[in-house]
Amino acid sequence: MIYALKIAFRYLGANKTQTGLLLTGVALGVFVFVFMSALIGGLAVYLIERTVGDIPHVTVEAPSRDPQVLVSDVPGTLGVVQKGTSQRNALRNADAFLPLIASLPGTEAVSPEIVGNGFLIRGQSTAPVGLTGVEPGKLSAIADIAGNLVAGTPDLTNSTIIVGRTLAEDLGVSLGQVVTMRSDRGVERSLVIGGLFELGVESLDARAAFVSLSTARVLFELPQGLSRIEIKLTDLNQADAHAARIAAETGLKATSWTQGNAQLIDGLNAQARSGNLIKGFALLTIVIGVASALLLSTYRRGPEIGIMRAMGASQGFVVLVFILQGAFIGLIGGVAGAGLGYLALSPFPRPDTISPGSFPIDVRQGAFGLAILLTACGAILASILPARSASRVDPVSVIGQ
């Protein structure tokens, strides 16, 4: 092994230009691999942050009541399941679960909410709104409403309402003006516009409004309990497991954000597959490059290899010499390419902190170790063909040359 290593290094050192070019080619291939990993990973982080950053990662609701089973009068149908409509789905004893939910590891924020629909009325103008009642101080627990306020303050009182900017423009109201909120339960209340937000999502800016939890209790006639509990996690990738744990420990219905964003997940998976394809091509280029260079070396060194075989070098020894060359090229080229990638990608800010229009590259997802490992393995695999070819050199055919 040690002597084979010496010969492998001697061969690589004998033609420094060729070895240098080969290492450069491998390093560039690894750089592409690292760059694609960081770009695809960064894009995923960016897209998820932009799409999921302002929605709850887990939503806890009351479990659906057992549906009624009715006898069907339709020929061939034995029974019909009908969803219960006799009472609203609400978390009646939510207070008992809140401490448990808030204490689960990985929980960043918990927002108890009462939600419902209604109309916002200003004179003769009315607009349908989705109203969310939140605890004072928790307005931005899930979506960053406070950070997207264009007017007013995020402090909710029992007499204020915060609405989307588009909604305010539709109604022709501005900060400080009084509007009437009529809930779908028929309860009306006059509220002062305490703030205007603009999230950049039309459906929210034109239809969403926030009031305090106590105001929502009055409007939706829910003196106790909650409509739902929204949870934000430190790691949104843990949402499925987190939801399952909450469901298991509380018996409530806990839904992960992934269940409502199948298209996004599909898109991200497709993007990852495309990235893997490009990375695969980069690796293939490395393998072909190493194989062709070593194969060339095999032909050039055929007479030497024949003499080595005549002097008692086994076929295994010759194979080892060439595989060690491949391993060295893969390892050094891999480390160089990964290092180059790290240096080139490090200056890019994290994608979850960049503004729209920036380049979403996440150096943390460069898969440096994987790139080096795959390159080394690929180069070793690439050297097998030349190594086998070298080991089959017939000493007799070269001795007479």
């Binding site: 092994m1 040690i2 002597y3 084979a4 010496k6 001697r10 061969y11 050192g13 004998a14 007479p303 030497e304 003499i307 080595m308 075989r309 005549a310 002097m311 008692g312 070098a313 086994s314 076929q315 020894f317 000493p395 007799v396 070269v398 001795i399 007479g400 040359q401």
Partner: protein
């Protein structure tokens, strides 16, 4: 056939190709080489000298016949066993030196030992230096093949052939590529080593003058010893 012969060859046949295209190079050749022999292998081109050396050197398998060396049947041995046997018991000197160009003289000499043990031991390096001194190249230890003259290269090749203290050295036209002075020097060296170390030499040559340095001459004609 003598029981204490170094090499015993009986009815050796080698045929290249098949059917009408078959070329019979060795046609039932018998040969015996005792330990410490110094024999010249003479014969015209195409008489089968090189083929015989290749078979004796375990680089080529015969088509038929028997071949034993040091009492071991080398016809039935596996490729791995032949490689190992060759490394320990047979040395080669070729017409062209065939030194490894990226290695210096000492590294070339110790190659057979290093490849056998998997490392360059101090013992091997010491023996390599001693062999290079023996062939008069103690001041060329660090020189690469390209920095040596033709005669010097061949002397390095001789030192390499002797590295593992083989019982037999097969030399195929060892002086064929050298000027007269260098050829004489190389031949003197082979005779000297044969006398002092008892290593058997089988030297293939066209040169009667070289053959005269050997104790006996083996003549080949049309694939047989005559």
């Amino acid at each position: 056939m003598s029981g204490d012969a170094l090499i015993t060859v009986d009815g050796l046949v080698k045929t290249f190709g098949e059917g009408d295209a078959a070329t019979h190079v060795l046609k039932g050749l018998d040969l015996e080489i005792p330990p410490g022999d110094m024999a010249a292998l003479l014969g015209p081109s195409g008489s089968g000298k090189s083929t015989l050396l290749s078979i004796l050197g375990t680089l080529m398998q015969p088509s038929g016949g028997h071949y034993t060396m040091l009492g071991r049947d080398l016809i039935s041995a596996s490729a791995g066993e032949l490689t190992d046997f060759r490394n320990h018991h047979i040395g080669f000197v070729f017409q062209f030196h065939h030194l490894l160009p990226d290695f210096n003289a000492l590294e070339n000499v110790i190659f057979p030992a290093a490849v056998a043990s998997g490392r360059e031991t101090r013992t091997a390096r010491d023996r390599g230096r001693e062999l290079l001194r023996r062939v008069g190249l103690e001041d060329r230890i660090e020189y690469r093949a390209s920095e040596l003259s033709g005669g010097q290269k061949q002397r390095v090749a001789i030192a390499r052939a002797l590295m593992n203290q083989p019982e037999l050295v097969l030399a195929d036209e060892p002086t064929g590529n050298l000027d007269r002075e260098s050829a004489d020097r190389v031949m003197e060296l082979l005779v000297e080593i044969n006398k002092e170390e008892g290593t058997a030499f089988l030297i293939s040559t066209h040169d009667e003058r070289i053959a005269d340095n050997c104790r006996r001459q083996i003549r080949m004609v049309d694939g047989q010893v005559v």
